[in-house]
Amino acid sequence: MPLESLGQPLSAVFDLPFRDGYVWSITYVSLYVSLVAVTLSTLVSIPVAITMAFSEFPGKQFVKSVVNTGMGFPSVVVGLAVLFLVSNQGPLGSMNLVFTREAMIISQFVLATPPITAISLAAITGVGKNVRDAARVLGGTRLDVALVVLKEARYGIATAILAGFGRAISEVGSVLIVGGNITSADGISKTRTLTTAIQLEARQGRYETAMLLGAVLLVLVLVVNAVVVRFSDQGVNW
């Protein structure tokens, strides 16, 4: 497993105060939490965006402005709200979610859904009316029309998903509060992500290692972006 060795070359070159596997495990938690949250967000956002684009209903503008406001939710506030929800005193207290990855996924879901919905909506609305009409004239059902529009809007939707992913993986405020930034004593992350690890290094004045972890995060985001862009290019034939 080549990824397993990610920690070793780093610690060999830079003399990091980390044990083997530490960097790999926080990278894994970052990716796991953000990818699960963004996948769930996408599954919710795209049907919502399609519904909003294809139908008129009272209060549509209001829903739109709620979604747009959601793009500006401060992550710390979302973290506090989710903490209130999952704390043992809160409504979901019996599920024992506080300081777990699941709690982090909930807060990142809340953060990633508004940008994915809003940008997808803009992309779908932007598909020319003539494309829609053409699909309908050619005898397409409502589902066919929706699929044609989705296909035309795929770059915009890919951008939406990437924006949501970017929001989730770069976010530190809420995952710190609801996750607790936990590693076990042997240096394997439970709820520590790259961003909360960077915050911890900065708190201890180890700015060089903080910067290095920042570089790892940047590379990770680049790789994910490349994969998604490639995927939406190939998607022409679906």
């Binding site: 704390s87 043992n88 005193q89 207290g93 024992n96 506080v98 300081f99 607790g180 930034n181 936990i182 076990s184 004593a185 042997d186 240096g187 439970k190 911890l200 900065a202 708190r203 201890q204 004045g205 180890r206």
Partner: protein, 307 residues
């Protein structure tokens, strides 16, 4: 198909035997509560976590009981608040006033003194307020206020911040103005901010020592470990969250943890822990003389009424 089924049955048998063996072994070992695989959630301060002490000692506890410890570094105020909400099982902090309030309100039980180090006032070598060698912490702070020299405060309701507020109360000076900067950050960051600005700050000795190689700040007022004033002592306590208030907490494991922390072996391990060749914490749990005040809020007597 036949072979597969036989193999499945063999696997099943082996698994059952292993489980049975496990039961017998743990039963015969000690008769202790079977906690294997459980998780203990500890909320604590940044100073115990960032010095690396917990990562050093916890593997022994995890191996001994077959459990894992989730240590969450939050600062004293937040650590106690998490415990108050029943989100942690045990809490290790360093602000006796706040601990006492926590105990009086019934959220904590079985407090033990754990260890101590001390606070030091650090600042630039040029020492613009001229406090070096001052034997009183409050006099040093008063001199800093008098000189309007930049002072960095944690401002985050941590144990260190609570100590700083107590000291200011002693000076009869209300700190304020552009020389007094509340950062709202952890100790390490506050030290870095003070370092960048050539400012004074109050730090626990452990965090200062573990970061000293990156800092131009020096100790100007020593704490009691180096014969400084007793007002700068920094005792750490550990408390279990009261299971009568929060039924969901892992009380068995919390008490096992407190017992383990205050055992001679671990007290020795705390004493032996060094960063940059310096001892950071001094064990305080074991004493031949009775010390009842560690279990109850300071000044509490059985015939006194809670305030």
């Amino acid at each position: 198909m036949e072979i597969q089924r036989r193999r499945f049955l063999a696997g099943l048998g082996a698994g059952t035997a292993a489980i049975a063996a496990g039961c017998v072994r743990s039963g015969a070992d000690s008769g202790a509560p079977d906690v294997v695989g459980e998780t203990l959630t500890l909320t604590t301060t940044t100073s115990t976590y960032d010095t690396g002490l917990l990562d050093e000692i916890h593997p022994d506890f995890e191996a001994r009981y077959g459990v894992s410890v989730d240590a969450i570094a939050q600062g004293t105020g937040a650590a106690l608040e998490s415990a108050r909400n029943g989100d942690s099982d045990v809490v290790m902090v360093h602000a006796r006033d706040l601990e006492d309030e926590f105990m009086r309100n019934g959220y904590g039980v079985n407090r033990r003194d754990l260890m101590f180090n001390d606070f030091v006032v650090v600042g630039p070598e040029t020492d613009p307020a001229g406090i070096e060698g001052t034997s009183s912490a409050t006099a040093a702070l008063a001199a800093i206020a008098e000189a309007r020299a930049t002072f960095v405060s944690r401002g985050d309701n941590s144990g260190t911040h609570a100590k700083e507020r107590n000291l200011w109360e002693g000076t009869q000076v209300e700190p304020g103005g552009d020389w007094y900067q509340e950062t709202g950050t952890g100790m390490g960051e506050a030290l870095n901010i003070a370092n960048q600005q050539g400012a004074y700050t109050l730090s626990d000795r452990g965090t200062y020592l573990s970061q000293r190689s990156n800092l131009d700040l020096t100790i100007l007022v020593q704490g009691p470990i180096e014969d400084g004033p007793e007002a700068l002592s920094n005792p750490y306590g550990v408390m279990a969250v009261n299971p009568a208030v929060h039924g969901n907490v892992n009380y068995d494991l919390a008490m096992a943890y407190i017992g383990w922390l205050t055992s001679p072996d671990v007290q020795d391990a705390i004493s032996d822990y060094e960063r940059n060749g310096e001892q950071l914490f001094f064990p305080e749990a074991l004493s031949e003389d009775p010390n009842f005040q560690q279990y109850v809020p300071e000044g509490w007597r059985s015939d006194s009424t809670a305030e």
